[in-house]
């Protein structure tokens, strides 16, 4: 199950999209999502599709890979579409069966919803496919940096995220070991009723939790020993610096926003 979730996985191809500053990609993704929720006609989505298709093409990430990211949420898409399809009121009824009816407005709304969700997922997964989690974290820290003035612990959140990313593979490996150890003691992960299954899961989670706490304690000590004292006065080995291609990308994003919203809303 965990293997199906491809959002958040990095797919290196060395394309120019991969080399962009993470802040550009964050802003681009954010604005793209806003744009697709403002359109009132299908022409807007045509513009979005061309734009998204071009970005995917340049990134070199195979389409098959990107569509795999949609799989886990197909149910959600179908469900939202169905609700819009059957429960939108209107006079332009196309089909009626007792209380259920499909109106033209409903059909349009459902289609919009499906397109929006598909674009939302593919749009954001192209960001995570082309950006390493650490660069993304840095981008988030830097983009939200001004919030520090409001005493929001941006640096701490970013650090927490990057530490979590560092320890996920270690804890996964450990979970694997615990599962093997418990199976060798006769724990059965396939059979039994729901309560048995829960108790088996607990028998994995508790040792995992204990070990995670131990690691956290060690890590805090090791960070202290290496002079960590908060974000104040910290420098960076790899600070984010904009280059020409980043400025050009901002311009492209701007042009896309203006043209797509103009076409999607006012034509």
């Amino acid at each position: 199950m965990l293997r199906d979730i491809t959002i958040g996985q990095y797919y290196p191809t060395g394309s120019i999209i991969h080399k962009l500053d993470p802040r550009v990609k964050l802003a681009g993704t954010f604005l793209f999502i806003i744009s697709i929720f403002t359109f009132e006609n299908f022409l807007g989505y045509v513009v979005s599709l061309i734009y998204l298709g071009t970005v995917i093409f340049i990134s070199g990430v195979p389409l098959k890979y990107i569509l795999k990211g949609v799989k886990p949420i197909i149910f959600l898409i179908v469900f939202t579409a169905a609700i819009h399809l059957f429960f939108t009121s209107g006079d332009d009824v196309l089909w009626k069966f007792y209380a259920l009816k499909i109106t033209f407005t409903g059909l349009k709304k459902a289609a919009f919803m499906v397109i929006r969700l598909l674009f939302l997922i593919t749009g954001s997964s192209i960001m995570t496919y082309t950006t390493t989690p650490n660069r993304l974290t840095e981008g988030i820290e830097k983009s939200f940096g001004p919030l520090k003035k409001l005493h929001i612990p941006v640096h701490e959140f970013a650090l927490m995220m990057s530490l979590a990313l560092r320890f996920i593979p270690i804890l996964m490996e450990e979970a694997d070991k615990i599962i093997k150890a418990q199976s060798s003691r006769g724990a059965d992960f396939e059979e039994g009723n729901i309560f048995k299954k829960i108790s088996v899961v607990v028998s994995i989670l508790i040792p995992l939790l204990v070990s995670a706490m131990e690691r956290a304690r060690d890590l805090a000590l090791a960070m202290d020993a290496r002079c960590y004292h908060g974000g104040e006065g910290r420098t960076k080995m790899k600070p984010l610096r904009y280059t020409e291609k980043d400025y050009i990308s901002y311009c492209i994003i701007f042009v896309y926003m203006v043209s797509s919203v103009a076409i999607g809303r006012f034509i």
Binding site: L221, D224, R226, H229
Partner: protein, 292 residues
């Protein structure tokens, strides 16, 4: 330079609701370590070795007495950051002390914390990685490295701060023999070439034989202090503190009891081999004496 006067560390333990008990972990330690020395600290479990180590870079502060690191009083909080730059610490579990997902970024962590400019960070990271022989792996994920390599990364991370002392608190305990050798070789080289003070806490006596001095700790006190030849010449005393000498020492001891005359101190298997070699070519260091 590290110096302490009557260093005491106590913690409180609740026995019952309103009764407290004070447990003494360090009981009036007096140590004096000169720059550039290689010190080993041994002692059985719970003798206070880790507690002492944590005092050396101000992760813990004394509850009594004073400890000076490089002339700075560790109980003064204004000194804490300089002390931690001066004295680095390598811990036991290699995984739990690596903070970044890329080797070179982990080595840079301490430098980022103390605010070193970016260009300098790159230079110092490269130099430290080269010193511990890990430059090839600079862009790798630490997860794929061996335990010994991870510990060398941790050493590089400290080295980048240009410290005068490195404390290793059982840093070889979780490694295989190959990894242990990697780490010990790395710190021995740092000690001999860069004159960095090494304080090695370990349960493996074989690792201590290269040190200038060995401290034996027992119940929060230093009970023996001297060069390895001296410490390991008194097996019965070591036994009293639940410690064992390296294997070679016992073999040499048995041989002496069997009547072999071995004139030079034997600490390692290499020493033994050279004793036998001398014996074979009859240099005269070893004589088969007559038991009367």
């Amino acid at each position: 330079m590290i110096k302490s006067e009557n260093l005491v560390y106590e913690y409180k333990r609740n026995i019952s609701d309103n009764k407290e008990d004070r447990i003494r972990v360090l009981d009036g330690l007096n140590i004096d370590i000169e720059d550039g020395q290689f010190i080993s600290i041994v002692g059985h479990n719970g003798s206070g070795k880790s507690t002492l180590a944590r005092h050396l870079n101000a992760l813990l502060m004394p509850t009594g007495g004073t400890l000076w690191v490089n002339g700075m009083d560790t109980s003064d909080e204004n000194n804490t950051l300089s002390i931690r730059q001066n004295t680095g610490m390598v811990f036991q579990n290699p995984d739990n002390q690596i903070v970044a997902s890329v080797v070179e970024e982990d080595v840079a962590f301490a430098l980022e914390n103390i605010g070193v400019p970016t260009d300098d960070i790159w230079r110092r990271v490269e130099k430290s990685l080269a010193t511990v022989g890990m430059i090839k792996y600079r862009e790798d994920a630490p997860n794929h490295l061996s335990g010994g390599q991870k510990q060398r990364i941790a050493i590089a991370g400290i080295l980048a701060m240009k410290p005068r002392c490195i404390v290793l608190d059982e840093s070889t305990a979780m490694l295989d023999p190959g990894g242990r050798k990697e780490v010990i070789d790395a710190v021995r080289e740092l000690n001999s070439k860069e004159h960095i003070n090494i304080i090695l806490i370990t349960h493996y006596m074989e690792e201590t034989i290269y040190s200038d001095r060995i401290f034996v700790m027992n119940r929060g006190r230093i009970v023996m202090d001297g060069p390895p030849e001296h410490i390991f010449s008194d097996i019965s005393m070591l036994k009293k503190y639940n410690l064992e000498a390296p294997q070679a020492v016992y073999i040499a001891d048995r041989l002496r009891k069997e009547g072999f005359v071995i004139n030079k101190p034997v600490l390692s298997m290499d020493d033994l081999v050279s004793v036998f070699a001398d014996y074979k070519i009859g240099v005269g260091n070893v004589d088969r004496g007559k038991k009367s």
